[in-house]
């Protein structure tokens, strides 16, 4: 749905100051359009009609335009066999949903706007991997978690979606909005020994 309201938006990490250090950049990311796309995969050819959006990637990878943690076009994070989190710059929800619906017509699917469900942040720099490892049990080494990886996991007691967007050390992290403060504080606490020295 188009959100052309003049009402003020307020996001969970509004006003949070980025953490900067030679080994670390941690900052909230701006609002984004997020669609939860569910469709049972058939022959990959069925997705040909999805202009610019490739749903043929492996589970726990993302497809789409080259990006950094900031969005640059449409990115589809395949989180499960029949589940994608589609990310796009803020404001594109309705036309994006419409074009997906058109492309998938005739196939049982679900498109649900979850733009406001998440907050996102970027954590980058040579210390990023160790800091995320304070709470995430996955092997985040670039050999095990290469560029192109996107998966659900945990950070401490919060569920997250973690993506390695490009070859620089770092991640984009999506978290349910009510847990964004916890996740930010958790990472900031884990980063103290880096940032304060």
């Amino acid at each position: 749905m188009a959100e052309t309201s003049s009402a003020a938006r307020s996001a969970p990490l509004d006003g949070v100051a980025p953490l900067t250090h030679p080994a670390l950049l941690m900052r909230p990311l701006p609002a984004a359009t997020r669609l939860s796309l569910r469709v049972t995969v058939g022959a990959p050819a069925n997705f040909a009609a999805l202009k610019g959006l490739d749903l043929g990637g492996a589970i726990n990878t993302w497809t789409g335009a080259a990006w950094t943690a900031s969005l640059a076009g449409i990115h589809a994070l395949r989180l499960g066999p029949d589940e994608w989190l589609v990310l796009a710059p803020d404001g594109d929800a309705e036309p994006l949903a419409a074009s997906l619906t058109a492309a998938l017509s005739g196939r049982p699917h679900a498109i649900v706007d979850v733009s406001h469900r998440f907050a996102s942040l970027e954590i980058a720099g040579t210390a990023a991997e160790d800091i995320v490892s304070a709470g995430c049990p996955l092997d985040l080494d670039a050999r095990a978690f290469p560029t192109g990886t996107a998966t659900r996991s945990l950070l401490g007691k919060a569920e997250i979606v973690l993506a390695r967007t490009d070859d620089r050390p770092g991640f984009r992290l999506e978290v349910a909005r009510s847990l964004a403060a916890y996740v930010w504080d958790f990472l900031a606490e884990a980063a103290r020994d880096v940032v304060e020295n």
């Binding site: 749905m1 188009a2 959100e3 052309t4 309201s5 003049s6 009402a7 003020a8 938006r9 307020s10 996001a11 609002a31 939860s36 569910r38 049972t40 029949d82 049982p108 699917h109 679900a110 498109i111 649900v112 706007d113 979850v114 733009s115 406001h116 469900r117 998440f118 160790d130 490892s133 304070a134 709470g135 995430c136 049990p137 996955l138 092997d139 080494d141 095990a144 401490g156 007691k157 919060a158 349910a176 909005r177 009510s178 847990l179 403060a181 916890y182 504080d185 958790f186 606490e189 884990a190 103290r192 020994d193 940032v195 304060e196 020295n197």
Partner: protein
């Protein structure tokens, strides 16, 4: 003190960095690189504590984590105080303040040491046998007395000022222990390109190489070989070397917990530096190169200060440049202690050796010792010691040629100020045993060794009973290479190590008087163990618990084999027949801080807040915890207490309009051509017949027929529903629905998406609710005919795209405005501003509870507890009889769920109209019955209702619907009160108000 026992040269301490610490207030001089123990010994201090039970004087026994005696209170400054720290692992720094424990008034004059002269009163099982009668004396007399006398050290009473961290790590090969075997393993594995983590519990990696001044490895001195190896490993990007890091616990699937100590050795650590970091390592392969612990000899008075493990004496001499005594007697049953004797002699001590083996059973070490000018008494055994706070002589006796102790021993005293004892070695198989690997007894080595593995783990070096340096390195290299799937590197050449020992008969000390200690920390003697066996304890597990042998904080590292050997001998069995105890995590004590990591204070548990939270906080709302959510509990004005605020809020809702943040309600979007059919299976009622734009209240049952959750099902389109759940049930309900969708009703084409956090939910309730929001709503006609109770529509509210629901949890006309969460705050404020004209009141969860209880609306988890059916709470009308199946339907026909006299939801009115019953209070028919009374049910909800003008309560009461009008008795804090059973609705029983 001027370090009279410090050697003029040698050791790995930094003599350019002198330091002063205090021990019981006295200055102790040392050097950087010292442990507290080495600094104390350098100053001639052996007496460092009193024993647990008998308060006997005790000194430093060991040089590592196995230390049972030297437990000190360590104050690192700034609130960093910790009791029961092993002096042998605590690193010294300037200003460190250490204090002895378990003595009063002083270490030298300890009054409680009288316990030592009252044996055999406190033998094995003392507590079980003594404090049996009379029962009341236990609480009043015995327990306070024992509590005062018992325990070691003084627990800190302030908050821990330090930081702790957790870190997950992954590697191909984890190598535990950086002695010769571990270094060889890490070298082989990392040469093959594998990701390696090498951890070592000591401040410096190197293990036994750190105190080996005599061996050569491939023509390099051992310590040069070590330095080369560590430098190579440090250069490799695929190796992470963690010093001061103990592998404490070995869990499933090669999940190993390491505790890294980062600041305990620093006088002024950076504030941001964690004191400890708990590493959770997941390794494809594990190599355990954990070494071995030396065993003390068991003989009467074997615990005097100055009696130390032989290898520890060698460590203090070679690694710390400290001579623990000037006149040292080495008492041993094997070869390795000869290295100690030779090194001590070279360091200038007068040394003699007492070897329990006959001279023809001693290997080349005999000639080596004699060549060094050391007298060797072969075929002698220690039978006692002399001295008070420090050993002054070792009493030894000649064994007969068959190795027995004659009835009248030929005894002599050897004057000394230090005894270095060795009864052989116990491989450190703790982690291997934790990994569920099987231990097998090796008679030749008199020890349990790693047998078959359950996980991908290999052991190497002294941990498998290899005590020769070249053999250790070879086994480490093999383990590392095999773990990496790489060829085994060529063997190294090393100076042969003096190895081999001949165990003594374990019951030999029983023939002598006095206390021969097996477990030093728990004061367990050989006689205690013999007593336990004679009293009928057979299993080693029972003997251990009865005598407490091996149950102190050192977990029997120096005593386990002596315990097992003695029990086996007394039972006339071989050691493997008695069995070994199970090793459980952790290997060494772990701080609570390390376990908690960052999860303390505000990070202890996530605090979830809604988009309206900050507004409510600014209005002075009080919050309550609902799961991990903070929900506004009530909005006090000025001096209002909760009762006054709730009264005002409920009156506002029933009189005009109230505003409630319902954002925490769970919400699920159910999409797909079979969505209606699926919801028919998930809810007790029929949902597939719901018209688009309409809502229906539904109960969700578990398969067992009991209520799981409730909520509103709203139809947005033929193939799209917006479903609400309780706040606490959000995750549970989604999981329940996913489970059935994925595993039972797999042919249905339905997708579930959580939208709980997508939408902020603003409930506007009360007779003026429509007037309040009407000016803000675009694209929708709100008149009752167009938008009746239980409707849903997409529209705009305050310009924001919304899903507007007409629904009520108060019994009043009500709307629930769903807006995208980022807009929640702005729309809330717009509604609040629009409601000013109607004296709108924000209300909290407490008023919400009162309002719904006035109407008899249940709250799942309050009126229900997992054993309540729809009929029990009077909602049988929500259960479809037409549908052939839904989850829970079959169970409702089970005899116990369909019997007529189950507990049923009723109202309760206390006789005194202002008397609020206690939630959870039990209900009985009359109070005259004998205890235990027949309990008919309990109060589930109880409030003061301003609108009903009295206290109201809901209860689950046996056969309750047939008891309407009856008097029952309800428990209070100090008795009973009377109440009348009523219908569970206290306001507007006809339900007219909800329609306007």
């Amino acid at each position: 003190m001027s370090q009279p026992f410090r050697l003029p040269t040698g050791g790995r301490i930094d003599r350019s960095s002198p330091l002063v610490l205090t021990f019981d207030g006295r200055a102790v001089h040392g050097f950087a690189g010292d442990t507290v123990a080495s600094a104390l010994l350098a100053n001639g201090v052996h007496l460092v504590g009193r024993s647990f039970k008998y308060h006997r004087p005790r000194g430093v026994l060991a040089a590592g984590v196995e230390e049972p005696n030297a437990l000190l209170d360590v104050d690192r400054g700034g609130g960093r105080r910790e009791p029961n720290v092993r002096a042998t692992v605590a690193e010294a720094f300037a200003g460190l303040a250490v204090t002895s424990q378990n003595r009063w008034p002083s270490l030298e004059r300890d009054l409680a040491s009288i316990a030592d002269r009252l044996p055999p009163v406190i033998g094995a099982g003392f507590y079980y046998k003594t404090f049996m009668w009379p029962p009341k004396a236990w609480v009043r007399l015995y327990e306070p007395l024992i509590r005062r006398a018992a325990g070691l050290g003084r627990a800190p009473d302030g908050a821990d000022p330090e930081r702790y961290e957790h870190r997950h790590a992954h590697c191909d090969i984890l190598v535990v222990g950086a002695g010769p075997a571990g270094i060889a393993a890490a070298m082989a594995a990392s040469t093959a390109g594998r990701r390696v983590i090498l951890c070592d519990e000591q401040a410096e990696p190197g293990g036994a190489l750190l105190h080996d001044q005599t061996s050569d490895i491939d023509d390099l001195p051992a310590q040069a070989w070590l330095a080369d190896g560590l430098a190579t490993l440090a250069r490799r990007a695929n190796v992470r070397l963690l010093a001061r890091t103990t592998a404490v616990s070995y869990y499933n699937h090669n999940h190993v917990a390491l505790v890294e100590r980062l600041t305990d050795h620093l006088a002024e650590p950076p504030a941001s530096r964690p004191r400890e970091r708990l590493w959770q390592v997941r390794a494809r392969e594990v190599v355990l190169a954990t070494g071995a612990h030396e065993r003390p000899l068991t003989f009467p008075d074997n615990d005097r200060p100055g009696i130390m493990l032989a290898e520890a004496v060698r460590i203090y001499i070679n690694r710390y440049g400290v001579l623990p005594g000037r006149r040292i007697v080495v008492a041993t049953n094997g070869a390795s202690a000869y290295e100690t004797a030779i090194d001590a002699r070279r360091a200038g001590a007068a040394v003699s050796i007492v070897d329990t083996r006959a001279s023809d059973r001693i290997g080349p070490e005999l000639d080596a010792a004699r060549a060094a000018g050391i007298e060797v008494l072969a075929g002698f055994v220690p039978i006692g010691s002399k001295g008070r706070h420090r050993v002054t002589a070792l009493r030894v006796a000649r064994l007969s040629p068959d190795g027995a102790l004659p009835d009248v021993p030929d005894a002599r005293d050897l004057a000394c100020d230090c005894v270095a004892v060795s009864a052989g070695w116990t491989p450190a198989v703790h982690l291997f045993s934790q990994s569920r690997g099987r231990l097998e007894f090796d008679t030749a080595r008199d020890a349990f060794l790693p047998g078959s593995s359950v996980q991908a783990v290999r052991s190497a070096g002294a941990a498998v009973g290899l005590y020769d340096l070249a053999a250790c390195i070879a086994s480490g290299a093999r383990a590392g290479a095999e773990s990496a799937g790489a060829p085994v590197p060529p063997a190294v050449h090393a100076t042969p190590t003096l190895t081999g020992f001949a165990p003594l008969p374990p019951d030999l000390p029983l023939r002598l008087g006095g206390k021969a200690f097996v477990d030093f920390q728990n004061d367990v003697t050989a006689k205690d163990l013999a007593l336990a066996v004679s009293e009928g304890f057979e299993s080693i597990e029972h003997v251990k618990r009865y005598t407490t042998s091996g149950m102190a904080t050192d977990q029997g590292k120096t005593s386990s084999m002596a315990t097992m050997g003695l029990v086996a001998t007394r039972r006339g069995l071989a050691v493997p027949a008695v069995g070994t105890t199970t090793f459980r995590p952790p290997y060494t004590p772990v701080s609570f801080g390390a376990l908690a990591g960052q999860s303390r204070d505000r990070l202890f548990d996530p605090v979830r807040t809604t988009p309206v939270h900050d507004w409510a906080a600014a209005q002075g709302a009080r919050f309550e915890d609902v799961g991990s959510w903070k929900r506004a509990h009530y909005f006090p004005r000025a001096s209002e207490d909760m009762a006054a605020a709730v009264r005002r809020e409920t009156i506002a809702v029933r009189g005009s309009v109230g505003l409630f943040d319902a954002s925490t309600l769970g919400k699920i979007e159910v999409v797909g051509p079979d969505a209606g059919r699926f919801l028919d299976l998930m809810y007790a009622g029929i949902m597939s017949t719901l018209a688009v734009g309409r809502c229906r209240y539904g109960l969700m049952l578990k398969e067992d027929g009991f209520i799981l959750d409730d909520g509103i099902v709203a139809r947005l389109a033929d193939d799209r529903f917006h479903v609400t759940t309780t706040t606490g049930g959000a995750a549970r309900v989604l999981a329940h629905m996913e489970d059935y969708l994925q595993t039972e009703f797999t042919t249905l084409r339905v997708f579930l998406t959580s939208i709980t956090e997508q939408w902020a939910v603003i409930a506007v309730q009360g007779p003026k609710a429509r007037e309040t929001i009407a000016p803000l709503v675009d694209d929708l006609d709100l008149v009752d005919a167009a938008f009746p109770h239980m409707s849903i529509a997409r529209c705009r509210v305050a310009g924001v795209p919304a899903r507007l629901m007409r629904a009520s949890f108060t019994g009043e006309r009500g709307f629930e405005i769903n807006v995208p969460a980022d807009y929640g705050r702005a729309v809330w404020e717009a509604v609040f501003a629009a409601g000013r004209a109607h004296q709108i009141a924000p209300y909290g969860t407490e008023a919400m509870h009162v309002l719904r209880a006035e109407k008899g609306f249940i709250i799942v988890g309050q009126e229900t507890d997992g054993t309540v059916t729809p009929d029990d709470v009077g909602l049988a009308r929500l259960v479809s009889v037409k549908k052939p199946d839904f989850v829970g339907k079959r169970s409702l026909r089970r005899p116990d769920l369909s019997r007529p006299n189950r507990k049923q939801l009723v109202g309760l009115l206390s006789d005194a109209f202002h008397e609020q019953l206690d939630e959870g209070a039990q209900i009985v028919a009359h109070t005259g019955q004998p205890i235990p009374m027949t309990m008919l049910g309990h109060v589930t909800s109880s409030y003061m209702s301003a609108c009903a003008g009295r206290a109201i309560a809901l209860a689950l009461l046996a056969d309750g619907r047939h008891r309407i009008g009856e008097t029952v008795h309800v428990t209070t804090a100090d008795g009973f009160t009377r109440a009348t059973v009523a219908r569970p609705v206290f306001i507007d029983p006809e339900g007219n108000r909800v329609h306007g």
